[in-house]
Amino acid sequence: MRMKPFSLSAALALFFVLLSQPGFAKVFKIATVSPEGSGWMKTMRAAGKDIEAATEGRVKLKFYPGGVMGNDSAVLRKIRIRQLHGAALTGGSLRQFYPDVEAYSLPLLFRSFAEVDHVRQQMDSKILSGLADGGFISFGIAEGGLAYAMSDTPVTQVAQLREKKVWAPANDKAALQAMRAFDISPYPLELSNVLVSLQTGMINSVATSPIAAIALQWHTQVKYISDLPLMYFFATLVLEKRAFESLSTNDQNIVSQRLEESFAYIDQQNRMDNENAFSALQQQGLKVVNIPATDQQAWHQRADKATAKIIDDGLVSRDFYSEMQRLLDEFRNQGSSGPLAAN
């Protein structure tokens, strides 16, 4: 039977009316590698419940934890075909949408958490707005930490690290590039193979955060931590912009507020965890290796060269880098005489 034009348009109108009713919740499907039961997942699930209650069921967050949706690039592919609407991702994985998202991870950029805080206070909002222009709404940055070289023998000089069999995360172009900048030939391995490779001597050095070293139990196979932060890294929770903007302004505000609060909490928690984990590593017998000033200078000269190349290649914009450097110089100058000196 042929449907009359009138009844078709009436049916469509009804359909759209129904769609706008509260009964039709917007479900945001969000992937993360965090395992169920982790502090991160508990915080995010609590935020999801809050959002559902505050929007009277109009917005729900459905999480896919434990990396079940695949690695960062698989997750981004699924977001593109609308199978997912968002994800918690490492900063670097979003470089194609906003290259400066990698700027915090330039080699040896930060010398302390105090420097991190000073720069992030000014620059986080730029990263968030850059990501928004790239099509993703981010609800903040959660610190992963500062990575340190951990090894079976003390490492104070670049040349000593070159002699080592150093792990690099497989498929992490930024990490591989950073190591090559120091003429280190890394051994790319999946995370799950690192512990056994340390045990068998296939590798004998890793660069990672104190939290990761303990969570993955790598600390049982290394004896020294070089007291020189090599790289800062972070994660962020993003929702695909069009999906987010399909919400009413009021619901957008509720979602933003709850997720921003949760992310700020995770950010602070990770800072405390990293500081506590650094102490725990020492309690477990790892020795902190102080780097003499002349050696530090050599590390920084090498890092500056690598950074210059990254900027010249356009991987991070000169503007963003210059602004970060200005803030760091400002902080370091104040630090020598003012109250901002810390860490």
Partner: protein, 269 residues
């Protein structure tokens, strides 16, 4: 000489009493009675240990009962931490009484401990130490210095599996499965290794260890997002008879947990 003979007799009798109490607790179907009654037994064991602080058998019993009671009944975090601390202290003392190379298990260099554990051939002290350590670790999971000891506890349980994987109905496999599935593969976890451990724990207990199925569902099936396996395992647990020698108490707790997990299934997957 007579005194030595007399104290051995007392030790042997208290050992039997302690074993009997442990069995009574672990085999009980009446959770409320155990919850209310067991603290008196725990005090009794504490008293006996105070009189014989080197008695490995009493120490082992004390470790097992404190750990089991904390896991089954204690909700309060501070109390849970205290009971697990006591369980670990007893387990460490039992291991030390048996082998002087195992007297500094928390502070020795990891490789030194690895060597000492690899040379130990007595299963029970290693097993009790590994289990008490994991209980302690779980109760202190917000302390990085505790989390850092996970590999040490794992060493003990790995050695138990090497010596006799069927010990205590293959329960060491259950704990090792739990460790392997703590993290997703993207973060260094090994779910497929965990799956092998869980299946070994189920096989070696003839399917009677219901907690093995519950943890298999909770840790593995949820991690790999396999709802069919998750729901099947939990449904089997709920349909099973919880009575089994040495397992009744934990099976009853496992059934409670299975119901909770099954109720959440639709929301999780």
């Amino acid at each position: 000489m007579a005194l030595t003979a007399c104290s051995s007799l007392i030790s042997s009798q208290t050992g039997k009493l302690a074993d009997g109490l442990t069995n009574a607790v672990l085999n009980s179907e009446d959770l409320a009675t155990v919850e209310q009654g067991a603290p008196a037994y725990l005090l009794l064991i504490d008293g006996l240990i105070e009189s014989s602080p080197q008695d490995a058998s009493l120490l082992t019993t004390g470790a097992r009962l404190n750990g089991a009671y904390a896991a089954a009944f204690v909700e309060d975090d501070a109390r849970k931490r205290a009971m697990n601390q006591k369980a670990l202290n007893y387990a460490k003392a039992a291991a030390c009484a048996r082998n002087s190379s195992l007297c500094n298990v928390q502070t020795d260099d990891f490789q030194t401990l690895q060597k000492a554990v690899a040379e130990e051939t007595a299963i029970e002290p290693l097993y009790v130490l590994g289990v008490a350590w994991l209980g302690w670790l779980q109760a202190h999971s917000d302390d990085w210095n505790a989390v850092a000891q996970l590999s040490r506890a794992k060493l003990c349980l790995d050695r138990v599996v090497d010596l006799d994987e069927a010990y205590d109905g293959g329960n060491a496999h259950l704990y090792l499965g739990g460790i392997a599935t703590l993290l997703p593969p993207a973060m260094g976890g090994q779910p497929e290794l965990g799956k092998q451990h869980f299946e070994a724990a189920i096989r070696l207990s003839d399917g009677k260890n219901l907690l093995a199925k519950v943890i298999y569902a909770q840790q593995y099936a949820r991690l790999v997002f396999d709802q069919e396996l998750h729901d099947r395992l939990l449904t089997e647990v709920l349909a099973s008879n919880p009575q089994a020698p040495g397992l009744t108490l934990s099976n009853l707790a496992a059934q409670d947990q299975a119901q909770l997990l099954l109720d959440e299934s639709a929301e999780y997957f």
